[in-house]
Symmetry: C2
Subunit: 244 residues, 2 copies
C-alpha cells in the first residue's frame, strides 16, 4: 500500500484529515518564509545592502513564533486524536521539520548580522562569489526539500540529501582559499573571518535541508534514515517507489 | 497540582509507568555517554592526546544509535498508549532532549577531529586555556541539565539557561583575543583557526544544554519556553514552585 492510500484510509473523520493537512500547509508556509529570508540575507550580503539585511533579520521572531505554533498544534492533535501509523508519522515529521526550519532561520539571522558588519567594513569582497554560489546551492536544497514535503516525493528528497555532499565539498574548497588569502594578507583577517562564518552558516543550512529531506523519507517510508549513508537512503527510497 | 502528582495520577497501568520511566532513564544514560565524550574530547585536545581523541570520536555512532532507539520508543509509546497531559509532555520532551544530546555529540566529534589535527601540528597552544575554561562551563551546564531531568528540577534548569549567557560572553572574549593573535602572528593562522572552530563548537554545546533545560521546564510547567527571555523563564519556574 502506498503512503498516500495508507494515509487517507486510516480514518474517516473529515476534520481530522483537515487538521493533518493544515499542519502540513503551515510547515510549507513557514518554509516559504525561511526560504525568502535566506535569499534576502545572501543578496543583502553580496550587494552590501544593510537595509535589506536588517529587514531579513526582523523575520527571525516571526519564524520562531511559527515554530512554537506548529509544534503546539502537533501536540494537540496527538492528545486529541490519538493518531497511529502514517498519521502519527506525519505529525512527528512535521514537528521535526519545523525545528530544522527554525534552525535554518537562526543561521540565516547570523548571516544578516555578518552582512551588516561586512557592509560597514567596506570594500574587501574576498569570498563573496563563493557565498553567492553556496548560497544558491543550499537555497535550492531547501526549496526542493519543501517541494518533497508538498508532494510526498521521496525521490526528490533523496536528491536533496545527495546535494548536501556537493555543498560540503564546495564549502571545504572555499574555506581553503580563504585561509590562504588570510595568510597572504593578514590586514583583512577580520572581514574574511566574517565571510568564513557566513560560509559555515550556509554549510549548516545545507545540513538542516538534508534533515528536512530525511524527515520526509521517514514520513513516506516509515524508516528513520537519520545517520544513514546515501546508499542506504537510496535503498529506502527505492522500496517506496516499488510499493507505489 | 504539582507535576509529580499529576504525572502519577493520570494512569494506573504499571507497565505504562515503567515505559515512561524507561525512556527517561535511557535519556539520562545517553546523557552520561555524551558528557563523558565531551570531557574526553576537551582533555584530549588540551593534552595533545591523539589516541584519546580517536577513542572519543568512536563514541559518535553509539550516540547516534541511542538517539534513533529512544526516538523509536517514544513513537511506539505514543501509538500504543495514547498518552495525554504530563505523560505526553514527558515523551515529547525526552524526544527533543535526545535530539539535543545527539547534536552535542556531533559538536564533540568535531572537537575530536580538531584535537587530532592540532596534535599533529605541534606546539602552538594559543587559546587552550580558553578551551579548557569554556569546556568546563558547558560540561557543567550539560551535567546540570541532565540532573534537572533526573529530578524534575525546574530551578536547576533555569540556572543552566542563565549560565548560557556567561558562556556566550566568555566565547566572545576568547574569540577577540584569538583574532588579535592571528593578526599579530599570521604564521599560526591555520592552527588558531582550529582552536576557533573548537570554541565555536563549545559555544553551540552550551546552546544545546540550554535547550535541554528548556525541554525540562516545558515538561514540568507545560509552558514552551523556547525563544523566551531569561526573565520569562524565571517567571515560569516560579509558577511551578508555587504550585508545589
Amino acid at each position: 500500500m502506498s503512503y498516500e492510500s495508507e494515509h487517507h484510509n486510516t480514518h474517516i473523520s473529515q476534520s481530522f484529515n483537515e487538521e493533518l493537512e493544515q499542519i502540513r500547509t503551515e510547515l510549507l508556509t513557514m518554509g516559504g518564509v525561511v526560504e525568502r529570508q535566506l535569499s534576502d540575507a545572501v543578496n543583502a550580503l553580496v550587494g552590501g545592502d544593510t537595509d535589506q539585511a536588517e529587514q531579513a533579520l526582523k523575520i527571525d521572531s516571526v519564524i520562531n513564533d511559527m515554530e512554537l505554533m506548529i509544534d503546539e498544534q502537533c501536540t494537540l492533535i496527538i492528545a486529541r486524536r490519538q493518531p497511529a501509523a502514517a498519521d502519527l508519522r506525519l505529525i512527528i515529521s512535521v514537528s521535526k521539520a519545523t525545528n530544522d526550519l527554525e534552525r535554518i532561520g537562526d543561521e540565516t539571522s547570523r548571516i544578516c548580522r555578518y552582512a551588516m558588519e561586512l557592509a560597514s567594513e567596506g570594500k574587501n569582497m574576498q569570498g563573496y562569489q563563493e557565498v553567492r554560489h553556496i548560497g544558491n546551492l543550499v537555497r535550492d536544497m531547501l526549496k526542493d526539500g519543501l517541494t518533497a514535503f508538498a508532494r510526498s516525493d521521496a525521490e526528490l528528497a533523496y536528491k536533496v540529501a545527495k546535494q548536501d555532499k556537493e555543498v560540503d565539498s564546495e564549502y571545504r574548497t572555499a574555506m581553503r582559499s580563504l585561509m590562504t588569502y588570510m595568510m597572504e594578507d593578514p590586514r583583512h583577517i577580520s572581514s574574511v573571518m566574517n565571510v568564513i562564518w557566513v560560509l559555515r552558516s550556509l554549510e549548516r543550512i545545507g545540513d538542516h535541508a538534508r534533515n528536512l529531506a530525511e524527515h520526509l523519507i521517514y514520513l513516506v517510508s516509515g524508516t528513520d534514515v537519520r545517520h544513514s549513508s546515501l546508499k542506504e537512503i537510496k535503498k529506502t527510497v527505492k522500496r517506496v517507489e516499488e510499493r507505489q
